[in-house]
């Protein structure tokens, strides 16, 4: 019997730490080779960690939501044969698991003091002391590297509120009293065990003049109790941090313009009528990307990334278009690379591909990084105006609002036109208001006269 330790692998690309987002095993489980044991998340991608050997889980290296450094212990297994942990190495689990969210964890764990008992005892008990020591030094880290067991959690609440279809529970005497009072027991909330209606509940109900009990069921007007604590972990924590960073660092200014997309919409429908079968259907988004690509040639300062610590703005010849995408886990921004080199259909396909990858959680790191500007569209939910948050360290974001048909005056006549707002935000540190306005006007001109999208 030996002990085998799985450590956080070096995922590359300079990643120093990962966040633990899910465990697929628990202490005591038997695992087999290639079985997935945990999900960890890097800056944007979720990585599944497989088990390289057969064995039995002794301890888990952290709790969900905890940040672990590359090289830190993820899992400790009992395996047939020698394992990969030499005697005397036993300091690793506690120190590594408790490693601070810094890149230097490797050196730290090696420098950690030897455990009080030198024997490589796989039981979790001896580990508790060093774990607590490190924990007190690093208060941000959960106190114990061993997993929280089921029994430590509060027991599941027994009493569930009665469903509308469920028969009220009351003793025969209470039922008789309710009938005497002309009260339908299904409107009375029971305070007894299993929701049993007691004489007091009936008296309360009468005292309130037959008003529904606070917290009662069977109606939409009851007062509701209870709260739910949701840990902000994983992608949600990433989003929260990015949003906070962007809003704190970047002095945003918003610019909203109305665009007449009547002609553009006609063109879109014509193209779809001709080519939808062979090339796929077009939404408005590829046209907007095309308009941005062209307008950005006139305003290269907007297709840029601003390193505000080094005070350097990097302008890009290529347009790597970030596409804000709602996924089941939250907002992600997959990137369509080299949007300037894509025709409408390639662009549409590119957007569909990266969005699907993001939604399924299978987006590669390349797909999720390197954007130079971002577009965000909620389609029919786009509203009138939005104030999008810049995808730091980019300097601009263009938001697309809802398209509506409205009566407009044209040559003295009222005509129906399709109108749509573009709501954009810019980093005022490096983009002047005049430039931003002219950039949006350049887009607008091209969108209102769609031929300009193709004739440069």
């Amino acid at each position: 019997m030996g002990t085998y330790v799985i450590r956080i692998p070096d995922i590359g690309e300079g990643i120093a730490e990962v966040e633990l987002v899910a465990w697929h095993v628990a202490a005591g489980d038997t695992v087999s080779e290639d079985q997935l044991v945990a999900d960890v998340m890097t800056d944007k991608a979720t990585v599944e960690i497989p088990c390289p050997v057969d064995g039995k889980v002794i301890s888990l290296g952290g709790e969900v939501g905890q940040t672990l450094a590359v090289g830190a212990e993820l899992l400790r297994l009992q395996v047939e044969g020698a394992g990969n942990l030499r005697e005397g190495d036993d300091a690793a689990p506690s120190a590594a698991a408790a490693a601070p969210a810094q890149a230097a964890s490797q050196t730290q764990s090696q420098a950690a003091p030897p455990p009080p008992a030198a024997a490589p005892d796989p039981e979790p008990a001896p580990k508790a002391e060093p774990a607590q020591q490190t924990a007190s030094a690093e208060p941000h880290v959960p106190s114990s590297p061993t997993s929280a067991t089921e029994s430590e959690r509060p027991p599941r609440q027994r009493v569930t509120p009665r469903r509308a279809s469920e028969r009220p529970l009351a003793s025969p005497a209470v039922r008789r009293r309710a009938l005497d009072l002309g009260i339908e027991l299904r409107f009375v909330q029971g305070s007894g065990p299993a929701g049993r209606i007691m004489h007091e509940d009936l008296a309360d109900f009468v005292a309130r003049g037959g008003q529904l009990h606070a917290g009662g069921s069977g109606t939409g007007y009851e007062k509701r109790q209870g709260e739910q604590t949701i840990p902000v972990i994983g992608l949600r924590r990433m989003i929260a941090r990015k949003m906070q960073h962007a809003k704190r660092q970047i002095p945003h200014f918003a610019y909203v313009e109305e665009v007449d997309v009547t002609e553009l919409e006609k063109l879109r429908q014509t193209l779809n009528a001709r080519h939808a079968g062979s090339r796929g259907k077009l939404t408005l988004l590829p046209f907007l990307v095309r308009a941005m690509v062209l307008a950005l040639r006139e305003f290269p300062q907007i297709n840029a990334r601003y390193d505000d610590e080094a005070d350097v703005v990097t302008r890009f010849a290529a347009v790597h278009m970030g596409v804000a995408t709602q996924t089941p886990n939250g907002l992600m921004v997959p990137v369509v690379q080299h949007a300037e080199a894509l025709d409408l259909w390639s662009c549409a396909q590119g957007i569909a591909e990266v969005a699907a990858a993001a939604r399924s959680g299978k987006a590669s790191r390349d797909t999720l990084t390197g954007s130079t500007i971002t577009i965000t569209s909620l389609g029919p939910l786009g509203g009138i105006v939005s104030t999008p948050v810049i995808n730091h360290p980019e300097v601009a974001i263009v938001g697309v609002n809802r398209m509506v048909e409205r009566p407009m005056l044209q040559d003295g006549r009222v005509v129906p036109r399709l109108l749509m707002n573009l709501s954009s935000s810019f980093d005022h540190r490096v983009v002047d208001g005049m430039d931003a306005a002219q950039f949006i006007q350049s887009m607008r001109t091209r969108l209102e006269t769609p031929a300009l999208l193709f004739a440069e």
Partner: protein, 464 residues
């Protein structure tokens, strides 16, 4: 024709009708009750009570016979004999004491009882042909139909001669040599076992492939074993073909083989049908539920001020259901707001061993989509059962998994019928498993198995 006017007219003096009449009388409602035969109905005169008397007599006789062969208890006695005429007289004594008691109670409550045939004219008018020859017309504000039920006859073996219903079997003039029971329901098995204990050869014929088809196999297994131990022959999956006095009973089994069984008495106990026609009830054009009169949870029929209770309104055809319905109706007529909404109508099968059920079975709970747990405690681990020489059977409880609310009880074993009180009370009070598990049950009693079953469902059983 003599005219009588009353507030409430009850047709039928069985447990439903007489209880309704007594309660109505107590509440000051002028009440007339019409009964064709004896007060007390099927239950008191030809059902529950006389059958329990005969079952008790048979049990005593069996004990005596066992002692004659030398019992493990060390009792030695001579070979017993039975004077069945005296047994029937003893039984009739109990019945007449009870029916007489009912009459007294009715009189005390101010109820006018008419012995005779009622013919419903309309929802407020009934003509009665009294037994003493007088005929009268009764006008009522409320009409309560409590006409009960009667044994179903088989067309290929009509009642008469050797073919009898439970009624005749409860007042025998002599004991048959070989009794064939058609129908392995509770009536057939109760009487079949009793007659076997009294010394008759007994053969049971059942069309389905199990005895007591309403109960699950676990519950009926101890009864099945008891039938075998008593030497009762069982023909399952067999249909009744006919009967004649010379060659006996003819049945056909699942393989279509015809079998003739020599029999000098044949009990047909294949079910009971409601008395919902034949006395003018059909002329009311009430909404029906099959042959039963359809009623709501107030026991109202589809006609205003016409009420119905008991066997004539459907399953389960049990006296205690009818009695509870009778109270509900009487109190409503007296102006109170009442409904018939029991959580549990317990059912007892007085076979040997007895079966008692209350509430839902595991299968019923599953059908209702309720996630359930169950606990079982065998009488083999109960001290009292050992001292009664009867360790067959068990108590079982069904409860919701989420809040441990008790949904049902089942038990099989000697004398478990008395547990029905505990079962129903726990459910009507909305007890959880913890309530029963936390109640001290007297030692040594069979009731300890009730507590232990609850403990077992909670994973805390102490004695198993």
């Amino acid at each position: 024709m003599k005219e009588i006017t009353t507030r409430l007219l009850v047709i039928g003096g069985g447990p439903g009708g007489y209880v309704a009449a007594i309660r109505a009388g107590q509440l000051g409602v002028s009440t007339v009750l019409v009964e064709t035969s004896e007060l007390g109905g099927t239950c008191l005169t030809i059902g529950c009570i006389p059958s329990k008397a005969m079952i008790h007599a048979a049990r005593q006789f069996e004990h005596a016979a066992q002692s004659a062969g030398g019992s493990p208890l060390g009792i030695r006695a001579g070979q017993p004999s039975i004077d069945i005429t005296q047994t029937v007289q003893w039984k009739d004594g109990i019945v007449s004491r009870l029916t007489g008691g009912v009459g007294t109670l009715l009189r005390k409550a101010g109820v006018k009882v008419i012995k005779g045939w009622a013919q419903v004219q309309d929802g407020k008018t009934v003509t009665v042909q009294a037994k003493d020859g007088e005929s009268m017309r009764v006008q009522c504000e409320h009409l309560l139909l409590a006409t009960g039920s009667e044994p179903v006859e088989l067309p290929m073996a009509p009642f008469g001669g050797a073919v009898v219903s439970s009624t005749e079997l409860l007042s025998p003039v002599d004991l048959p040599r070989h009794l064939v029971v058609v129908g392995a329901g509770y009536i057939g098995l109760e009487l079949g076992i009793a007659y076997r204990k009294l010394g008759a050869d007994v053969t049971v014929v059942e069309a389905e492939n199990t005895i007591l088809p309403r109960y699950d196999a676990e519950l009926t297994k101890p009864v099945l074993q008891s039938l075998k131990r008593h030497g009762i022959t069982l023909h399952l999956d067999c249909s009744m073909e006919g009967h004649d006095e010379r060659t006996g009973v003819h049945i056909r089994n699942a393989q279509a083989d015809q079998i003739a069984i020599d029999a000098d008495r044949v009990l047909v106990a294949v079910g009971r049908r409601p008395r919902s026609s034949g006395n003018g009830i059909e002329s009311l054009q009430l909404r029906m539920d099959g042959h039963f009169i359809a009623v709501d949870d107030r026991c109202q029929t589809s006609m205003r001020s016409v009420w119905a209770i008991g066997d004539v309104t459907g399953e389960p055809m049990l006296a205690h259901r009818a009695m509870a319905q009778g109270v509900v109706v009487a109190e409503q007529i007296a102006g109170q707001n009442r409904r018939f909404q029991p959580l549990s109508i317990p059912a007892v099968c007085f076979t040997d061993p007895e079966i008692v059920t209350a509430g839902l079975s595991a299968a019923q709970a599953e059908d209702a989509g309720v996630d359930c747990i169950q606990g079982t405690f065998p009488f083999a681990a109960n001290g009292r059962a050992m001292t009664l020489q009867s360790t067959a059977g068990f108590v079982r409880v069904i409860a919701r998994r989420d809040n441990h609310l008790i949904l049902g009880w089942q038990a099989v074993g000697q004398d478990v019928s008395e547990l029905a009180a505990a079962f129903s009370q726990s459910m009507e009070m909305g007890a959880q498993l913890e309530d029963i598990a936390g109640t001290i049950h007297a030692h040594p009693t069979l009731g300890e198995a009730v507590q232990e079953a609850a403990l077992q469902a909670l994973g805390q059983a102490l004695h198993i």
